[in-house]
Amino acid sequence: MILKSENLEAWFGEAKALKGVGLEFESNTVTAIIGPSGCGKSTYIRCLNRLHEETPGARIGGRVLLQGRDIYGPEVDPVLLRRQIGMVFQKPNPFPSMSVYDNVAVGLKLGGIRKKRELDSRVEWSLRVAALWDEVKDKLDRPGTSLSGGQQQRLCIARALAVKPVVLLMDEPTSALDPISTARIEELLTELKKTVTIVIVTHNMQQSARISDKTAFLLMGELVEFGETSALFTTPKDKRTESYITGRFG
């Protein structure tokens, strides 16, 4: 097990968004987190790379262990931690006025890698793993924002992969994409999990069913059910899970 949270709590000011969530993530698996809007699923993964604390007024309780070490420990630098836990966002967000190449290389360049050879090979590797290389290899100097929405999102995946994280967090990565682009990214995920452990938030239950090994259902900041995806979608143990996945609320 590579990553786990213990009794994780999160607040926005006085509002408690997470009420003690404990989850465990196995290496090289895809874990989906589902739940209705406002259930705290995005907040949850934003606690896993310490992005939650960047929001003014936000704080957390409980522990998150990456490879056994508490990421909220006093000796942990959140900046260095985030190189180990990458993130892809809901909207494709290539950096403005930056070329395709620079978008992927920027994390490495600003992280201190200067050798052109090394940058080139890492950019190519990342773009290949993100299944984008063949589409962009002839336009690496074009602005990242000139690509299509689906390509932009794969560019963002490549950008996150370039710094070689061990865990990749994805916050509804296909919700802004058309079905074809969505299918490509879903395909990609099953390949990607050979390289990284994936935690994906999705509001699309079919997507969760298709791509994940395990699924967690969050409701109003609480973990309702966590288990094998195939079991959760055929025989959920909790009545609330049943109601949610059969579309009776949410």
């Binding site: 239950m205 979608f233 055929t234 025989t235 959920p236 049943e242 996945i245 059969t246 579309g247 009776r248």
Partner: protein
């Protein structure tokens, strides 16, 4: 919250129930033909067979459509999968009723034979009870009824074994009745198969309700 999908599921259940009704009638006619010596009942069985075959296809189509368009999950998914399997079981029951009709015709071809039906009337009523109970369990979403069906399966099996040995005993003294005896053995076997299908239906009902798969467990497993 009532969903549009719930209406669709209700329609599907109604369609399956109509088919179940036809299968029950078909078995009833088979009983009347053999036990009640009502040869005219046999033609009804053949007519119902056509009806059941049509319904078999139609229910499958409806399930396929719902799976494709609604992408059901959890209880909805289990219900539709159960309906698909129950549909197949019902159709096979209908086929067994037709088989009974064939064997009954052969059995009755020789009118001179004495009426030796051994325990077949009792086996008929026990089997019909199981079929009725399995369908009731489905209609009422009743797990207890479904479990009762599973218990009864052993009794039908016992009837079959008893009928086999009784008829073998009779044939040892009256070897010339072999053709009639053989027909009766086959009918007992058909009934036993119908009971097995009823058991399958009960198991599917339990799966649809609870999600637990009780098939092939030692206590209840059909042979």
């Amino acid at each position: 919250m009532e969903r549009h999908f719930d209406e669709e599921l209700r329609k599907l259940k109604t369609e399956l129930l109509a088919m179940a009704g036809h299968v029950e009638r078909s078995i009833e006619h088979a009983a009347n033909a053999l036990v009640g010596r009502a040869a005219e009942a046999i033609s009804n069985i053949y007519e119902l067979e056509q009806e059941v075959n049509r319904e078999h296809k139609s229910v499958d189509e409806a399930c396929l459509r719902l799976l494709a368009l609604q992408q059901p999950l959890a209880a909805d998914l289990r219900l539709i999968v159960a309906v698909i399997k129950i549909n197949t079981d019902l159709e096979r029951m209908g086929d067994q009723a037709v088989n009974i009709a064939h064997h009954t015709e052969r059995y009755m071809a020789d009118r001179d034979q004495p009426e030796v039906l051994v325990d077949l009337p009792e086996m008929f009523s026990e089997t019909r009870f199981m079929v009725r109970e399995a369908i009731d369990a489905f209609v009422k979403n009743d797990e207890t009824l479904a479990r009762d069906v599973l218990k009864r399966d052993d009794r039908v099996d016992a009837f079959k074994h008893k009928i086999y040995s009784d008829i073998l005993n009779i044939l040892q003294s009256e070897p010339k009745d072999i053709e009639q005896g053989f027909s009766l053995i086959l009918i007992a076997r058909n009934l036993e198969r119908i009971a097995d299908h009823a058991t399958n239906i009960a198991e599917d009902v339990i799966f649809a309700i609870t999600g637990s798969d009780v098939r092939h467990s030692p206590r209840t497993g059909p042979s």
